[in-house]
Amino acid sequence: MSSISENREITYAEALHEATVQEMERDSGVFVFGLGVDDPKGMYGSTRDLHTMFSPDRNFDTPLSEDAMTGVAIGAAMAGMRPIHVHQRMDFLLLCMNQLVNCAAKASYVTAGAVAMPIVVRGIIGRSWGQGAQHSQAVHSMFMHVPGLKVVAPTTPHDAKGCMIAAIRDNNPVIFMEHRMLYQLRGFVPTEAYEVPFGKARVLRKGRDVTIVGISHPILDCLRAANSLDAVGISAEVIDPVSLAPLDIDTIADSVSKTGSLLVVDTSWTNCGASAEIVAQIAERFAGDRAVRLRRLGYAPTSCPTTKPLENAFYPDAASIAQAAFGLLHKGEEWRPLATEAKEITEFRGPF
């Protein structure tokens, strides 16, 4: 990567846009579709003007028919295209489960490899505030459960671009999880096209005492929590798995063998969630050899409430993460870190 490119800062949304443009230029089979992708807002800018930069049949709006549109993506992929299907809310993927789980995930297997399935399904996690029960869910664990699907959740502009390019080039269905509160995040992004390989976690912060794994947007709060843990003498290592399926458990395990403690913070419920999987794999791996301390944090086991006081309690935040990490190391002891709302949440303005 050239030094020039490395000095350029763009947002997460711009990084997705750039990745898509570069792949659309490279391969005429790449196209983008979904409700509203060609409207002036262009999915937080990530698909803006693609229909004028390319052609209207390479970035198009659809009827409200998520089930059929997923089938359309699958059929187009069978014909050798590389569709990117965008969903304004990940909750809407619940309408696509049949095609994704029963068909896309199995296409290669039931044809012994005669059929490739290069589709990218972008699911935006609707969180901001007041989204409520049906517009805030992240259902990545449902996809992680199913062999044949890949699931990625990049958190930096750099990884957003590289994962998008890798996802488009991948011959398998990739569920691409994007958290709304990340779109405005800025970071260094090379100008040229590059792939971020799936199955490689990133250690974002080195530490000795506890390993904290954060999935998607919570990684920001994990880093904030790590800073406040410093104040009480706890040195936290923070890991971003980037890709959830495949999952780089080795990097996490290496960290845990050093720290002996693992806290996994997810942007969904813990029950049968990604956090359960990570904890279970670590537990199996250290099984019987070493008594590692393990803990999960995620949504409260309720639907998501709209009213702010309850919504604040529903989501993990820097304070609750720090507290959980502290509790893992100091059983029984109490410590209340200062609770401050994350700036991307505080700065959010409606209507949606």
Binding site: G36, T62, G132, T306, P309, L310, P351, F352
Partner: protein, 317 residues
């Protein structure tokens, strides 16, 4: 039988209430007191009001996230609605659900949903239960033009027709799904033909006219109560504000100022108000304004639910 004047007063009260409540919501939205999305029905009031006027109080209504108009037209509690938008404890869902999930079981207003088309089959299921029980209540379900593209809409029509269920389907066709026009979604503008192919009588009311909607709905409700099975109305209408939130949206460029102006010229709130004697109209309006003032004041002073409530109601006891 209610006399014509009283009737008109009631209709106007309902229209004006909806309009003014939503205007008030739009006015205060910038304060962030309502920390949750709102989908305004300003411009579309006559559909809910016209159809609900043809229904009995014990009939059942299902709607969508664009549900303020229906909630109020069906007689939903105003204070509970405003408190809900404020996220306060006296809200119809104790502040846990916001604008997109309004509910008032006492008046037959069933919980709305933020996922397009999901309440359509639910309404069919409710209608089936009524038929199983030999009730002569009926169900009306309101949904947007975009909903009709979801497969579950077709599945629901098929089943309701098959079982001859007591249900009125009401499509509020406001020409757009967010910023997407019908042309981008329908191969032909003939929804009623498609619906009729299920054996469901279907009619379009082209201009949002309150009386026309009410008259068509009354005929439909009568046929439904006779046991003739489902009926369908496609009510053309128009949303004045942005898809979501309080703003105008002409700057976005997906629709024209002319189109908006043409529909504003047919504003059913103004036209209906003009049919009342000025003093009567003034009295109605004053009463509505007072009720709205009271509701917002109520919500302002209402408390947020206690944090412990987060865990309530996950399961029903």
């Amino acid at each position: 039988m209610m006399d014509a004047q009283d009737d008109l007063v009631n209709l106007y009260r309902s229209l004006f209430l909806i309009r003014r409540v939503e205007e008030r919501i739009a006015e205060i939205y910038h304060t962030d007191k309502i920390k949750s999305p709102v989908h305004l029905s300003i411009g579309q009031e006559s559909v809910s009001v016209g159809v609900c006027a043809a229904m009995r109080p014990d009939d059942i209504a299902f709607g969508t996230y664009r549900g303020h108009a229906l909630y109020l037209a069906k007689g939903g509690d105003l204070n509970a609605m405003i408190s809900e938008l404020y996220g306060k404890a006296a809200g119809c869902a104790r502040g846990k659900a916001g604008s997109m999930h309004l509910v008032d079981m006492a008046v037959g207003m069933m919980p709305t949903s933020a996922i397009v088309a999901t309440t359509i089959p639910q309404a069919v299921g409710y209608a089936m239960a009524l038929k199983m029980r030999g009730s002569n209540q009926m169900v009306a379900v309101f949904f947007g033009d975009g909903s009709t593209e979801e497969g579950v809409f077709s599945e629901s029509l098929n089943f309701a027709a098959l079982k001859k269920l007591p249900i009125l389907f009401v499509c509020e066709n406001n020409l757009y799904a967010i910023y997407s026009s019908m042309k981008a979604r329908w191969p032909a503008d003939n929804l009623c033909d498609r619906v009729a192919s299920y054996g469901i009588p279907a009619a379009r009311i082209a201009d949002g006219d309150l009386d026309a909607i009410r008259t068509a709905a009354s005929a439909a409700v009568t046929a439904i109560r006779r046991g003739n099975g489902p009926q369908f109305l496609e009510c053309m209408t128009y949303r004045w504000h942005d898809h979501v939130g309080p703003g105008e949206d002409l700057h976005i460029g997906y629709r024209t100022a002319e189109e908006l102006a043409a529909w504003k010229a047919k504003d059913q709130v103004a036209l209906t108000g003009a049919r009342l004697a000025p003093d009567v109209r003034a009295r109605v309006e004053q009463a509505v304004e007072d009720a709205i003032d009271a509701a917002f004041a109520f919500a302002e002073q209402d408390l947020f639910p206690d944090v412990a409530e987060l865990h309530d109601h996950v399961f029903h006891q």
